[in-house]
């Protein structure tokens, strides 16, 4: 009996895993609108996303719901991601909200603003250890943005309007 329930449990797990991996992009986007899943990483888990070695242009924006200029520029990033999706541009929004605000502030913000891009919250207090690994000159002010491909990277400790952002991005497109 015990074994049987194990088997059922494992079976269920496999089914649910399969479901996830079989989802198409469209379904994921649809899902996002319904209920966006917030990924919470420490820096170690996040770091590989700074060094992907493929054909994609990664735009990584560091923001927080409490940061007014970040919130202001966020729609530009979302629009950029939408407009350049076909050109292999991927946007990752990295939230630096306080963990105690994930439920009360960050998740409602993502839902309310219908954020379509991937959102990762970094919960890692040892800033002095990890900020330089994003960029050696980053003083820690946000908004901050990293754009990179496997051959080129630029870091911006500033805010953007759409045009400025697009101009920067174009340097990375062939």
């Amino acid at each position: 009996m015990k074994q049987l329930s194990y088997l059922i449990f494992i079976g269920l797990l496999m089914v649910s895993c399969n479901n996830k991996s079989n989802k198409t992009n469209d379904e994921l986007v649809f899902n996002n609108a319904e209920e966006k899943e917030l990924e919470i990483f420490d820096f170690e888990k996040f770091e590989p996303l700074l060094h992907k070695n493929d054909e994609t242009v990664y735009v990584i924006n560091f923001w927080a719901t409490w940061c007014a200029p970040c919130v202001k520029e966020l729609p530009h990033f979302e629009t950029l991601a939408k407009n350049y999706k076909a050109k292999n541009v991927e946007l990752i929004l990295v939230s630096l909200d306080f963990p105690k605000k994930y439920e009360t502030k960050l998740k409602p913000f993502i839902a309310k603003n219908k954020i379509q891009s991937r959102v990762i919250a970094i919960n890692d207090v040892d800033f002095n250890a990890w900020l330089p690994k994003v960029n050696k000159d980053w003083t820690g002010a946000i908004p901050a943005t990293l754009i990179y491909t496997k051959d080129k990277r630029e870091f911006y400790e500033r805010s953007f309007n759409y045009k400025e952002l697009e101009t920067e991005l174009k340097q990375f497109l062939n």
């Binding site: 409490w66 900020l131 980053w138 820690g140």
Partner: protein, 207 residues
């Protein structure tokens, strides 16, 4: 004659460059570096009086903190800034807090709000308004909170430490390294500061 022309050209170039530099974005490479002498200032405190570093005749140095009311990180550190002043003012290193934001953009940081916050929190250190936002670019502060530890030397107030207060904004109890305390302690004991520059997330200064 040729050399005069050359010199003039170089001088003009330097002048133009420096004029340009003053107007550009205050990035990480501008402002004071470790070992630089900080220029004194005269800024209005929450009690209406002007405060300068030179007012502190007995000070051995200063813990200058760029902070504000409205930044969650600055707020998370308020009590720790007050604790720094309590611990070090009598030892010769008072806290001087400066609010660098443009209050038109952040009305929650205006003088009235600064007074209210200082009163509510019982700040024992001066909380100064960077009127006209002229002082923070000299320091090269980019965010709140942003700390500069200065040591009074014969040459002037020398920058000895730049950066964060400690390594855990979330929980004062869980801090592993108290960067500012370590720096001031080192200065008090005449030792080398181990970590002279640290970094932390903060709110960009509003212009």
């Amino acid at each position: 004659m040729k050399t005069i022309k050359k010199t003039a050209f170089v001088l003009i170039a330097i002048f133009m460059l420096s004029a340009f530099a003053n107007k550009t974005f205050v990035g990480p490479n501008h402002g004071y570096h470790i070992g630089d002498i900080a220029t004194d200032f005269s800024l209005e405190n929450i009690d209406g009086k002007k405060v300068s570093l030179s007012d502190y005749k007995k000070a051995k140095g200063f813990i200058v903190v760029f902070t504000c009311n409205t930044c969650p990180y600055a707020v998370a550190y308020e009590d720790r800034v007050e604790a720094l002043n309590k611990k070090y003012a009598d030892k010769g290193y008072p806290v001087i807090a400066i609010m660098p934001n443009n209050t038109d953009v952040k009305p929650g940081d205006n003088m009235e709000a600064m007074k209210a916050r200082a009163k509510a929190k019982g700040f024992t250190f001066p909380y100064l308004m960077d009127e006209g936002q002229k002082i923070y670019p000299q320091f090269g502060a980019t965010k709140t909170p942003h700390v500069y530890v200065l040591e009074k030397t014969k040459k002037g107030n020398q920058v000895k430490y730049i950066g964060a207060i400690d390594d855990n904004y979330q929980d004062a109890e869980a801090v592993n390294t108290k960067y500012v305390e370590n720096a001031v302690d080192a200065l008090l004991f005449g030792k080398e500061i181990k970590e002279k520059k640290t970094r932390a997330i903060g709110c960009s200064i509003k212009v």
